[in-house]
Subunit: 237 residues, 2 copies
């Protein structure tokens, strides 16, 4: 009998944001698959898990998820990772593929779960805390109240993406925004409506910064910006 | 010395989606404040907590959060709840105010935390799994991949809200959508572009339904619809 694969979101960084379900599954499975860009590289997701659960070395299997610009090359990479994991499942072993944040929001683990499911394997996704929820809690802000809408851009590719949607929502979460901090600052200064921006960088990790938008700082890859329209506060419920 | 208040998201229903941090705080605090519409009413959030943690009856304090249409009346209600909790904190007692899902997304607990923080009390928000993340995992779908954007309407007030934003995103999450299922079905049939809709109702609770949009079914209050544009699959990364 084939084994089952769990795709598990481990939250953004603070190990205490792991769910009880994630912890239980990680303790039960035969193998924990950790996504790495290359062999020997540290995995952020596994760094979180390690702080809460002791997993014997022989149960930890690195799986290469190289980031490719070309979609076809990317697909090939996912296909390889899927096959690597499937080989363990074929031996009747169960596994957990871990991912930062939540497994349904912009996670590479999803692609593998989806491919295995479509190939007839038994798979299950375990939700994790998205970085923007953890960041909002640490900043002490809400992401949506009353009638407000919330838009999430999971991976910002350019400032135009923000300009296009700015009129249509009350709160905007922009993930992977580190390269565009100065442009976002300028864009907000140009608006007639007052908007407040918060930066949540390296949430729950070394070098964490939760605070106002400040283009004079350096930001790491895992940086999220939240833009809130000021008028929200006075809106009718 | 004044006590501290934790605003804690307990996830959407499955008690195993509680985070380790939420469990720890709920075990440590002097009082657990449970939001109810009226005294004697069962609390869904507490129903989740009870399955994982045994909390002595004398530590459980119901707090009334009546839903009012009028914003001023609503504010008065939140003010009263805030004062009730503050009275315990003034005695040096710590407390946890629990809420379904995540505390930063459309939660009444946020209002109380925010008011207490602004009044100088020590408060901390503990993120929880949003219902749409748990629902997406159960449905085995992603909420955003590659370049895709994600829009969340936390509380649908009318079909016009969807029509307005439909052209501007790749994936749309609509919470509290139960009254509008038939209208959403019609709207999607009218679109030229193929869109797939999933319903996630009572996630992790009695009467759970995760499946296709079906206007012939009855839906409870806690019903989320996810709309995904079909073209997403073939998009360049």
């Amino acid at each position: 009998m084939r084994g089952k694969l769990y795709g598990i979101g481990v939250g953004p960084g603070d190990p205490s944001l792991l769910t009880l379900q994630a912890k239980k599954r990680l303790e039960e499975v035969d193998y924990v698959f950790i996504p790495v860009k290359k062999i020997g590289e540290d995995s952020k997701a596994f760094g979180i898990v390690e702080q809460v659960i002791t997993i014997p070395e022989e149960k930890v299997i690195p799986v290469i998820f190289a980031m490719k610009r070309d979609r076809k090359e990317q697909e090939k990479g996912w296909e390889l990772a899927t096959k690597q994991i499937a080989a363990y499942l074929e031996q009747g072993k169960s596994g957990a593929l871990i991912t930062l944040g939540d497994v349904s929001i912009y996670s590479t683990a999803f692609y593998v779960c989806d491919r295995l499911k479509k190939a007839g394997y038994d798979t299950e996704m375990v939700a994790g805390i998205p970085s923007f929820c953890a960041g909002a809690s640490l900043a002490g802000i809400s992401l949506a109240e009353g009638k407000e809408s919330l838009m999430v851009i999971p991976s910002l590719k350019g400032i135009e993406q923000i300009k296009q949607v700015l009129p249509f929502f009350d709160n905007l979460v922009i993930m992977k925004a580190s390269r565009f901090i100065a442009e976002i600052e300028t864009l907000l200064q140009e608006q007639e409506e007052t908007m407040t921006a918060y930066v949540m960088s390296q949430v729950g990790m070394e070098g964490e910064y939760i605070g106002p938008l400040d283009s004079k700082r350096e930001y790491e890859y895992l940086t999220t910006v939240v833009i809130k329209k000021e008028s929200n506060d006075t809106k009718e419920q």
